[in-house]
Amino acid sequence: MTIKILNAIIAVVGGVLGAIVLYWLLNKLAELLPGRWEDRVKPYLFLLPAVAAISLYLIYPAIQTLIYSFANKNSTAFVGFDNYTSLLKSQNFQNTLFNTLLWIIIVPAAVIVVGLLIATLADRLGPRGEKLSKTLIFLPMAIGAVSAGAIWKFVYAVRPPGQNQIGLFNGIFTGLGGDPVNWLQLSTLRFNSLLLMVMLLWMQAGFAMVLLSAAIKGVPTETLEAARLDGAAEGTIFFRIVVPQIRTTLITVFITVLIGVLKTFDIVYVMTNGRSKTNVIAVDFFNQLFTNRNNGNAAAIVVMLLIIMIPVLVFQVRQFRAEEAAR
């Protein structure tokens, strides 16, 4: 334990000192250059470490992945688009893509709706009630996805008929006279995928609520009063006056959750590992790489995920810039 702490201290101190020494050396290096060249070169020298790190940890792996996606499972020979075509033809991967699409369509929207609802309702409580309810709803944020999986396994758990049901759902369901159901195998209408989405909703709603609640409180009361005097009903005020004024926060929350959804791995991995038609793209990638040891397929999946994400990221960056410009 002591050694660990010491290691941590050495890492922190050494890291900071190392960075200082590095930049000091770069500065000295720049000073060696004659006259105007010093000022011209210095900014690039200072950027060098960051650019090097990004290249090494981000750009190089991305390019390597792209290359692997055109190679066979051991990355020993190029196979052209074979990985992509075989994946897109396979029933399983089509299923995965469809599930991912469902997650994308349902979860961010649901998080926004639930977060907005809670924020609006909590806003009408007294100060103490508001604090308490918000804390409770925010708590799941602090729980890791794997721990959340442990919790929700008990919600969806199933025991053979005749035994005591320890799962919440089956407890209620059998209590009402039904037979125990294995909820997570219920792939009709992707019901099991929806149950997994509920978990992410449970974890993310608090985050959405906190941001949206702050935004709602930032809406000037006078505009609401003005709308009331203008004859607007409460619903009209909410949709025509409040929502447009918190639009930027809504988009921020939406995109943050969307990116979280695209990366969703742990919930599915822990709960079903993609069985019973619940697979999503990140879990599929993991299994291709570490279970099937198929580098080619795994790389192709990641490249497709990247292609899906690029428009979202471009939109997010644009939105961010527009917000900055509006400020």
């Binding site: 006078e222 009331r228 005097l229 607007a232 639009r247």
Partner: protein, 382 residues
């Protein structure tokens, strides 16, 4: 358009010790421009918000026309309000801001557009109709807020310090424009301000409030000439009326070692409660300079020259000694003001002197001692 009546209306915020508006009795005639004025916390904004339906009325009633609106939601009162910070909808264009109420009420698009354009023409906003509020200046935003009110042709306009976010010059200009617009439209208007110059220049009648109580409601002229009580006397007028606590002798107030005679009726009224002191009030312009040996000596401390006017600030000794004496204000000839440190002699015009009872603060001098219990003149020195 309609008359507005407050009938013993009381507003008390939850947890507050005393009501913010205390049994307000006020009748506003159809088409009248009434100004509510008073210092911060006097309840003027609260009275207005209660009329708008934004504050709950705890007791009493409020009527617009013949309709009792005391417990109606704002949208059923058919009134338009201009807020201090304008409360424009930031995500809508000027045209949409002005047309919002009409759109909600289900009015046809062309009709809405026409009304908005008409209002924009009146307010000189035509070229800004497609802009967002963010792209407008303060004065333009203020006009949009006005426009939002007038397109609706409501029963009444309520304005809550609509000029306080404008710079001084624009405020004076807009003040006149609003007053002119109101005369032209003839819509009953209740206007809240803390600025007594706005109150005096804009209102048909002015209602002075203090600590939730109505102090006096009257025309600007009467408020100035015949203030009901010490508070109104000191609040209305700029510079303020000089108010001096004086001792009484047999036939007047003791001032600077001499007696300032007061009318017999006034003395009788002051003596009624057995008090030997009173408050004497006179406006800065209610004095004339006299030669040495006449009038009362006045020591000039500061002179302010404003071009058209000059004001001399200084002290006058009462029988109480110099210690508690506050600076008094005199309006003097702007062309030949007295020097700092000079001692001049003044005579207070008897017609323009007011005496206020030391115990109740009410004016007792001369003619206009108001009949006790008269409807709109309840006074309290709580």
């Amino acid at each position: 358009m309609a008359a507005i009546t407050y009938d013993r209306a009381t507003v008390q915020y939850p947890g507050a010790e005393r009501p913010s508006v205390n049994a307000l009795d006020l009748e506003i005639a159809d088409g009248e421009f009434l100004v509510l004025v008073g210092p911060s916390g006097c309840g003027k904004s609260t009275s207005l918000r209660a009329l708008a339906g934004l504050e709950a009325v705890a007791d009493g009633t409020i009527r617009i026309g013949d309709k009792d609106v005391t417990h109606l939601p704002p949208k059923e009162r058919d009134i338009a309000m201009v807020f201090q910070n304008y409360a424009l909808y930031p995500h809508m264009t000027v045209a949409d801001n002005m047309g919002f109420a009409l759109k909600i009420s289900g009015m046809k698009k062309e009709e809405t557009r026409k009304r908005v354009e008409d209002a924009a023409k009146i307010l000189d906003l035509t070229e800004y109709l497609d802009r967002k509020p963010k792209a407008l200046s303060g004065g333009q935003r203020q006009r949009v807020a006005m426009g939002r009110a007038i397109v609706r042709s409501p029963q009444a306009f309520l304005m809550d310090e609509p000029l306080s976010n404008l710079d001084a010059k624009l405020r004076v200009q807009t003040r006149t424009e609003i007053a002119a617009l109101q005369r032209r439209l003839g819509t009953t208007t209740v206007y809240v301000t803390h600025d007594q110059v706005e109150a005096m220049t804009m209102g048909d009648r002015v209602c002075v409030l203090k600590d939730g109580y109505l102090m006096q409601v009257d025309t600007p002229r009467n408020l100035y000439d015949k203030p009901d009580n010490v508070f109104v006397a000191g609040f209305i007028g700029s510079p303020a009326m000089n108010l001096i606590d004086v001792d009484l002798d047999g036939d007047g107030a003791v001032l600077g070692g001499r007696s300032f005679p007061l009318p017999r009726a006034t003395m009788a009224a002051l003596a009624e409660d057995g008090s030997k002191t009173a408050t004497l009030g006179f406006r800065p312009e209610g004095v004339r300079l006299v030669g040495e040996g006449e009038g009362f000596p006045f020591e000039v401390v500061v002179v302010e020259e404003l071009g058209s006017d000059a004001y001399a600030y200084g002290t006058m000794h009462t029988s109480r000694g110099t210690e508690g004496d506050k600076l008094l204000t005199l309006r003097v000839d702007a062309r030949k003001p007295p020097m700092k440190g000079e001692i001049i002699h003044i005579q207070i015009n008897p017609d323009e002197a007011h005496a206020f009872s030391a115990s109740t603060g009410r004016r007792v001098s001369g003619d206009a001692a108001p009949a006790p219990g008269g409807g709109a003149t309840r006074v309290s020195q709580a």
